[in-house]
């Protein structure tokens, strides 16, 4: 797992700011770890992640412990801890018919 390099690249500021290790889990089982500042909006991480994974940010939903992540908040505000995971989902929608033929 390429933890350090990516984390350092995303936020490369001095050690004065405490950092947190976060794990992004996508639906295909892929995990990416980041070290991010605790006092920065989580949104920046998410956008960086989407850019790297070639996801469209708007099409994704980020869920932390079963709740949608408040993207405008910082890890500290959310109460995140080291090694916590963020689940990445695609937005879902559905209406009916096709599913019955697929089943």
């Amino acid at each position: 797992m390429a933890i350090s390099s990516k984390a350092k690249r995303s936020i490369g500021t001095p050690n004065l700011h405490p950092k947190i290790m976060l794990c992004m889990k996508s639906q295909d089982g892929d995990e990416v770890h980041y070290r991010v500042r605790r006092d920065r909006k989580i949104q920046s991480l998410l956008m960086a992640y989407c850019k790297e994974k070639n996801f469209e940010y708007k099409a994704m939903v980020f869920v932390y412990d079963g709740r949608k992540l408040p993207v405008k908040r910082t890890p500290d505000e959310i109460g995140m801890e080291d090694e916590d995971c963020i689940d990445v989902f695609m937005h879902q929608s559905g209406g009916g018919y096709l599913a019955s033929t697929f089943e």
């Binding site: 889990k25 639906q27 089982g29 939903v61 869920v63 412990d65 079963g66 709740r67 949608k68 992540l69 408040p70 993207v71 689940d87 989902f89 937005h91 879902q92 929608s93 559905g94 209406g95 009916g96 018919y97 096709l98 599913a99 019955s100 697929f102 089943e103």
Partner: protein, 506 residues
């Protein structure tokens, strides 16, 4: 052009001819036809004025058919012979019939006629036994004919008659043969236009052969009778069908009656409270395109911001998205918290829960959702809940699964009446693991029923399943029957818009 005029002339001839015959017939006659049928038709053409007579004779002949019929059926199987000899034979026939034998037949009257009948029979049987010889000896030689008869003698079937026959055969070789070929009756020989008769006779035979069978009952009659035999059975069946339907109706009367009563008793009016004009206007405004970009409402607890664009999915005919569903389910939970005495204690998982649970290796991963239901996060214990609602998203379809602790069963509701054994299995496993993880006790869910709810409001289109799904959750969390149907969906959509705008489910 020349050819055309000739054709036209010929065409005129058709119309001038006394008997209207199909052109194809006549046309082939113009060529040197080898088919006796055609030549007959030509003759028929000439002697058309005799028609009434011959027609009359048909009646008289009918009585003799049983005798002459077998001959005909046999002859039909040898069309080659007919075509080879029929033509010239039939030509000769007129002369013969005019002159010798047939005239005499008429003169001698009945006795001779019957004799001749027998003779014909004998001949026929002889030929039948000697089919191959007969085929070889199709030439018009007298010796051959004699051979026939000799063989016939050897058979010893009709000694006297065969003697007689031999003499006769010498006299007229061709005639009887040709007559057999035509399948003609013997007594008709008295006719001057014997050939025409033979032709007609054949036609009659053909006609009659189809209808009267061995038992003498027409085929259509037989069929009709046999069909009629089934009338009783059909009547019985239709009666029993009717009976069963009535029984079914009566049984059904019992079932919904209970439910409707229950539902009517329990369903508060607020479930179907019509929107006021003001609310309608608000809904219409929220769904208008001008609000697409604007955040109409933000839900703090779920961190969901509802923009006009997201709300568009509540327009009639649109597919519901996860944001609206998750928000509505959160609103249902808040509703319950506000009035806990009115609603069952429920937990509503969001639409991602099941996906997360079955994600990863092995199709089941409890650890990945273990933290989703901590007391700290929820503010209540999952295990206390009477019902746990699990929205199931399947590619393009929304279903609802319920862990029903109150009734100790797992339920699965699909507005398209689908079934999914995997959901049941996974949820059963999850609940066991969850109980063990949170309370440290093992529970036995072997006795729990797995119910695919079948008497549920069904979706009749390809876009309302999301709406059905959240309404199943709504009604079940009230602990009332699912007393709505497809017709209510447009209303529910509007109502949901209203409830989301107010962030309050009613």
């Amino acid at each position: 052009m020349g050819a055309l005029t000739i054709n036209r002339k010929r065409g005129d001839d058709y119309f001038k001819s006394p008997a209207p015959i199909s052109p194809s017939f006549d046309c082939s006659c113009a060529h040197v036809s080898k088919k006796p049928k055609l030549s007959n038709s030509m003759n028929q053409n000439i002697v058309e004025f005799d028609r009434p007579l011959s027609a009359k004779s048909v009646n008289s002949r009918i009585s003799e058919y049983p005798d002459s019929k077998p001959r005909f059926t046999r002859e039909v199987h040898a069309p080659v012979r007919t075509s080879r000899f029929g033509f010239c034979a039939s030509k000769n026939k007129i002369e013969y019939s005019d002159t010798t034998e047939e005239r005499s037949a008429s003169r001698m009257g009945n006795i001779y006629g019957t004799l001749k009948l027998r003779l014909e029979k004998a001949k026929l049987s002889a030929i039948k036994t000697l089919r191959y010889v007969g085929k070889e000896n199709e030439s018009v030689e007298k010796e051959n004919e004699k051979e026939f008869i000799e063989i016939d003698d050897e058979k010893g079937r009709q000694d006297d008659v065969s003697e007689d026959l031999s003499v006769q055969e010498v006299e007229i070789v061709d005639l009887p043969r040709s007559k057999w070929k035509e399948g003609n009756g013997v007594s008709d020989t008295s006719r001057v236009n014997a050939k025409e008769d033979s032709m007609e006779n054949m036609m009659d035979l053909m006609l009659l052969d189809q209808e009267p069978d061995l038992s003498g009952v027409p085929v259509h009659r037989k069929l009709y009778d046999s069909a009629k035999k089934r009338d009783d059975k059909l009547g019985n069946l239709s009666f029993s069908i009717e009976l069963q339907e009535k029984l079914f109706q009566r049984l059904q009367l019992f079932r919904p009656q209970k439910k409707v009563e229950e539902a009517k008793k329990d369903v508060p009016k607020e479930c179907f409270m019509p929107l006021t004009e003001e609310e309608e206007a608000q809904v219409a405004w929220a769904l208008s395109n001008s609000n697409r970009r604007r955040i109409l409402v933000s839900h703090k607890n779920s961190n969901i911001d509802i923009t006009g664009e997201i709300l568009q999915c509540l327009k009639p005919g649109a597919w519901l998205n996860d944001e609206v569903i998750n928000l509505y389910l959160d609103l249902l939970k808040e509703r319950e918290k506000m009035e806990p005495q009115k609603f069952l204690k429920c937990h509503f998982f969001n639409t991602f829960f099941y996906k997360k649970l079955i994600g990863g290796r092995g199709g089941y991963n409890f650890q990945s959702v273990r933290r989703w239901t901590t007391q700290k996060k929820l503010g209540y214990s999952l295990l206390e809940c009477d019902k746990i609602f699990v929205p199931i998203h399947k590619e393009v379809h929304w279903c609802l699964a319920i862990i029903n602790k109150k009734d100790e069963k797992f339920q699965y509701l699909d507005s398209l009446r689908g079934v999914d054994a995997k959901v049941m299995k996974v949820l059963a496993k999850y609940y066991v693991d969850e109980v063990k993880d949170k309370s440290g006790t093992d529970i036995n869910i072997n006795s729990w029923e797995q119910e695919y709810v079948v008497d549920l409001p069904e979706q009749e289109n390809g876009f309302d399943c999301g709406m059905f799904m959240i309404k199943y959750a709504d009604f079940y969390s009230r602990d009332i029957g699912l007393c709505f149907n497809q017709e209510h969906m447009p209303y529910f959509r509007k109502r949901t818009v209203k409830e989301i705008l107010r962030l309050k489910a009613e």
